[in-house]
Symmetry: D3
Subunit: 69 residues, 6 copies
């Protein structure tokens, strides 16, 4: 499936932290650069996410804030 | 200012496309890896964004979808 | 690609309205029930969206507000 | 109250899963088509959500990603 | 309609800027404190928004980032 | 850091509710007007948020829905 979302950052899952209903997943997209995602436990189980697995962080352009010093 | 947003990806602005009310900004966070952001023209002018400028793409963890093959 | 996003509503594109940088797309997911999406013109061109095409409206659970009378 | 949000999908609540601070609610908008929402426990209690209750899934157009095969 | 969204900030519309497909609306929620919203032109026309009108800025808790000095 | 996000509402933290992975934080931006935010526990610990602390609620314009009676 091709997505309208402009940002599809590919990497490897390096951490999964499960809560009562919400799971946090960290993807390393380049050496030392992590992207953290907060998803439902249901999604985590459905995709059978595991540490070491290849995965993409998908982000809509309208969800990206710009910051400058 | 320190932010609760888990993802602050630093890079350089490589493209700015201005529309009637909305501007699209592309930040290169590593060689060849771009993040696209959609912001208001007002924000673009307020921050005086320019190509070549250092900038960060800031993304809340709850806005990151995970995709796997 | 499998997505963590809990909501993937399949239908047909029934309207595309292009602006200066932002395009609005309407997908009919069941008879008379439309979902409106606001995406970048770039995404619209990249996916070559056309009226009549099958498409899915993808929505993260954290972006769904509940309303009751 | 009338809302600017373009998507107000009406249906019936078919599942409520409460976590420590976050609740997941599933609304059936047409036979077999569910929309999942992730809200605060506080909101769930405030609206006194119950299985079987009529409810709407409200989604801003800017939060809808388009996917095509 | 009661909403799960935790933030409903009431005020008066003080500015409306229409673009090709996107409109920016500013609501003054207390003296000198504005909230800016970006909505579709369609929503703006549908709600017949006008300067001086009472309106609420509605924001889901998961869309609020915290910043500290 | 200057942000493209149009809404930076300053106030004081008046409540922090920690869950298994998600924390809810309430900021009083003017007398009796609260903004609720849902963030990761990690962010809460990272920023060392405490009741009474000055903090800002940061919201992108594209995440603000307008409601009118």
């Amino acid at each position: 499936m091709k997505l309208s979302a402009r940002n599809v950052l590919k990497g490897k899952i390096v951490a999964i932290t499960k809560g009562a209903t919400t799971t946090h997943v960290k993807i390393e997209i380049v050496d030392g650069m992590l992207v953290t995602s907060s998803i439902t436990n249901e999604a985590c189980e459905d995709l059978r996410l595991e540490i070491g697995q290849e995965a993409a962080a998908i982000i809509k352009a309208s969800d990206v804030i710009i910051g400058v010093e």
